[in-house]
Symmetry: C2
């Protein structure tokens, strides 16, 4: 690798094998989303800076990539645009802007990259893809249930069988914090600590809460209730304030509705789930697998975000799967089908001297018309070198047009794996190679 | 549309119908490229600023979107990154960087957005997609011929029958300029003028050449030769310097090789084709249709660009189709298949009260398993309102689970177009709807 030719820090070049794996995963997720009536949406890579500012909290603001003003304004050093930080805020803007054109109930998916100026680390990139799915226009718990079902279907189709969807509700969490006597002004601090439960454990969270001025007794009660509910004991949910009781009932409805889907048995009520983003207002969800710290994706209800753009509230709920994390786990576990390790072509046409090349090009056209992917070797190298190239690239067949073949209107097809060769009429070669590929599977 | 919710100047939101059209075109182009053994590559949206600077000429440099440094460096107003301006320079960087991993002959395609801070105008955007296809590692004219063939196949598969591929060669152009006595130091100026021939006609080019200090006699000779060659008279190519003669022979080889492909009869030698970008070194190409000023795409050979990154020259040649221009022409001409005007779903499942909703969700799962795209109406609205929603969205069937159906294990399927309805067992409904959709075509 030459110096100065690496992609920018935190970004990656995707070589053909990488792209094929990414497209395989995206294709499965997309087909599942389409099966639920979600429709595709795409938004620009950058937004006006003010569209993004103030939507992701102070931490988020710092991670936004800003674009310098252009022309005569460049020298001011000011930014007016910023790269997309997630797909949810652009969606809210789109819904506010195109409201007259969009249906009252709008279900959309969006699979595009986002950019965050995070410190790069293993599995953490500055450019990464989100696979978002959202429904706008309905407050029904059926929306959450179908989101869980769609996520579950996608996970199953990708080959996962050991995932869990954790489910909580922002107002249930608030009510539980109230029930152990944590004052409202400390809820924000408490949530930041709770959000780290996965990473630092209950003791760590206790220490963090103490440092944030939360009384040890309250913190201990809270952690005890989390433990109780995690073990399936719902007592802590029985004596909550009315908001908490309603939130618990909402989660019960979601669970009941999801019972007739592939999410059955995979959703786990988890009172400690906090989710970082500030725009959530109702149910919140996260999907996890045992061998990955952190989640493969998450989401929730955000009934106030569209109103920040249009002044008119539109109920909304969504889920985002993280493509890179799914790829990390699938790669570690070897979950990609062998057929994905594709070669650049099904057959290579060898070329000889300049007089033979037009025939090679013509033959290639015929083979393509038969449905084959065909690479024509462009240079008049020795036939041994050409075959070595095909073999090195995993191309299974080489078509050879020598003088004899040209005279007879035939082509000799070498099967590199079987180390055999056969001569066909040029018209029949395509079908014969296709047949051989099918037999091979 | 609310104020402040529009996408940034020169960019667009793609609503579902837009995305479907874009994906239709991309899908066709991609399958054609794959058929030729080109493999997919993707690069980051931004590059280190120095990677892009100095590659596109002074005009290009001004149009690069620059990204502000982050954190403590933000206040300096300096940029360190820049949005991708085309897909060719990133490709050259990738080839220099990953050379050890890449095959000696590397054929790649890349379909991604690029960004240019051009003044927005009809059909000119600041974010637009390029569909690039390049072959690296061979100087053979077979590379150019196959590029022309692939572009031609893609155009034909998209439904175009009236396109032309204009072909020229940088060194042929130089030799023709020499042959009419234009001094080498004026070639750059002359090319800028020649590049405008499409837009301002021969008289305009004559005026522009005069203003650039090119003698009237030389300009007139040049234009006369262009006219001659455009009419198929090859005399002006017969008496050129050795570079020009070699370039002409190269074009003749490309034409001969392309004769056995769908590009046959569509390639036109055009001595006046200049192409703007400065990195071209050999053959240059452009694809045009009569009803669009400007081209649908273009490309050429650039044997020195990889060397700017790796120090090692690698011969390279490529072509880039512009997605937005193709879409403009296809939309104007109505070239999209009617099946693309898809609805969000094949069938909508209506929901009644809360007790019926779990049954609706379960039925939807069964219909999806049968291969249907199914939208579950989430809210317990009156059935008339629900059916109106389905009809308004063009969803052809509505599945209704009333009390009677639930008792009997059946479902009533309303065909909104035929204004008819039929009751099926829940197990059979999916197959019946699929069958009806197929009959409808």
């Amino acid at each position: 690798m030459a110096a100065g030719t690496a992609p920018p820090s935190g970004t990656r070049d995707f070589l053909p094998e990488d792209v094929r794996r990414r497209e395989y995963v995206i294709g499965i997720i997309k087909r599942v989303y389409e099966g639920y009536g979600y429709e595709p949406l795409e938004t620009p890579a950058f937004e006006n800076l003010e569209t993004l500012l103030g939507k992701y909290g102070d931490e988020g603001n710092k991670l936004i990539f800003k674009i310098l003003r252009r022309g005569e304004h460049e020298a001011t050093g000011q930014a007016d645009l910023a790269l997309r930080y997630d797909l949810t805020v652009p969606l809210a803007r789109v819904v506010a802007h195109h409201q007259a054109k969009l249906p009252r109930l709008f279900k959309r998916y969006q699979i595009q990259p986002v950019w965050r100026a995070d410190r790069p680390a293993k599995g953490r990139f500055r450019e990464f893809y989100q696979c978002d799915v959202d429904a706008l226009g309905s407050p029904s718990p059926l929306v959450e249930a179908e989101l869980c079902a769609a996520i579950s279907d996608a996970m199953v189709k990708l080959g996962f069988s050991d995932f869990t969807i954790r489910l909580n509700h922002r107002q249930l969490l608030t009510a539980v914090l109230n029930s152990v006597g944590i004052a409202e002004e400390l809820h924000g601090s408490a949530l930041v600590a709770v959000d780290k439960l996965d990473k630092i454990g209950p003791e760590g969270v206790g220490v963090e809460m103490a440092s944030r001025g939360i009384a040890a007794g309250a913190a201990a009660s809270l952690l005890a209730r989390f433990k109780q509910t995690a073990e399936g004991d719902t007592t802590p949910f029985q004596a909550l304030d009315p908001h908490g009781t309603a939130a618990y009932a909402n989660l019960a409805s979601i669970l009941a509705l999801a019972d007739g889907t592939s999410a059955r048995g995979r959703i786990r009520l988890d009172a400690s789930l906090a989710r970082g983003l500030s725009y959530y207002t109702g149910a919140i969800m996260e999907v996890n697998v045992p061998d990955l710290a952190g989640s493969l994706g998450g989401g929730g209800r955000y009934d106030n975000l569209v109103g920040m753009f249009s002044g008119q509230q539109i109920p909304a709920c969504g889920f985002s799967l993280g493509l890179e994390r799914i790829l990390v786990v699938m790669t570690d576990r070897g979950m990609f089908p062998p057929s994905l390790a594709t070669t650049p072509a099904d057959v290579m046409v060898a070329t000889f001297d300049q007089s033979g090349a037009p025939h090679a090009v013509r033959l290639a056209g015929g083979l393509r018309a038969a449905g084959l992917r065909v690479l024509v070797y462009p240079d008049p190298d020795k036939i041994g070198k050409q075959i070595k190239y095909a073999d090195g690239r995993g191309i299974p067949f080489v078509a050879i047009l020598g003088d004899d073949e040209l005279k007879a209107g035939t082509v000799t097809v070498k099967d590199l794996k079987a180390q055999a060769q056969q001569t066909y009429s040029q018209a029949d070669a395509g079908a014969a190679i296709l047949e051989a590929l099918k037999r091979r599977g």
